[in-house]
Symmetry: C2
Subunit: 132 residues, 2 copies
């Protein structure tokens, strides 16, 4: 068990760090979730994205319910060691639980006090059809 | 002061949320830092990335020392409202304090216990020349 590469990873006080998933072809940022050491270790071993669900307090193998797995191409670590960046192939083309490609489907339009969040992305699949 | 767009933003217990900066041309993820409401408001108003420095406990106008400002093209919010994604023009082509383009300059290579972080990016400018 000489997992020295894990020593470079700076988990926070809760044993977690944020992980970004980015589409390996388009570069689009798909989502951000959290990982603990187990999630990161399993992600590296299986090349499937595994996160830590803070709401459910358990490992979340992305796609376990939806089928929308993420096949991991690259795993990167930032300079401070406290953020992970995955490049992934997003199965089904849907990363977001709302049925959209990306969780970042709202863009701030307009200036200052008049600004508002505008939805820029269509729902590709009804969440009721994703999570049966 | 009808900044209703801020109401959709879910800051954490410390009043912060992570913000990703992504190159608007290449899609490369450059860095992740933190924002509080003031940082996000100023970012939206000035279209220059402003973060909250947790180490210095003050607003950090990116580039204030290095000159490596980030001109903000898009501001996006994720489905849970707790992560910001900026697409930016990175002045000087250097986002990282190590003098590299991106903070994500380490990639995990190899399998399981033999894996290691490999530096994939050159230092473009000596940090001692950036922070005088």
């Amino acid at each position: 068990m000489s997992s020295n590469w894990l020593d470079a990873v700076a988990f926070d006080a809760d044993g977690l760090l944020p992980a970004i998933a980015q589409d390996h072809r388009t570069g689009r940022v798909l989502m951000v979730a959290w990982m603990n050491a187990d999630a990161l270790t399993e992600t590296a071993a299986t090349r499937r994205a595994v996160y830590w669900s803070r709401s459910r307090q358990r490992l979340w193998r992305k796609g376990e319910e939806s089928g929308h797995q993420q096949i991991v191409h690259d795993i990167r670590l930032d300079c401070d060691g406290d953020v992970i960046l995955l490049t992934v192939e997003q199965k089904g083309g849907i990363a977001c639980h709302t049925g959209r490609e990306s969780c970042f489907f709202r863009r701030l339009d307009g200036a200052a006090d008049q600004a508002e969040w505008v939805v820029t992305d269509p729902v590709l699949k009804d969440p009721k059809q994703i999570y049966k």
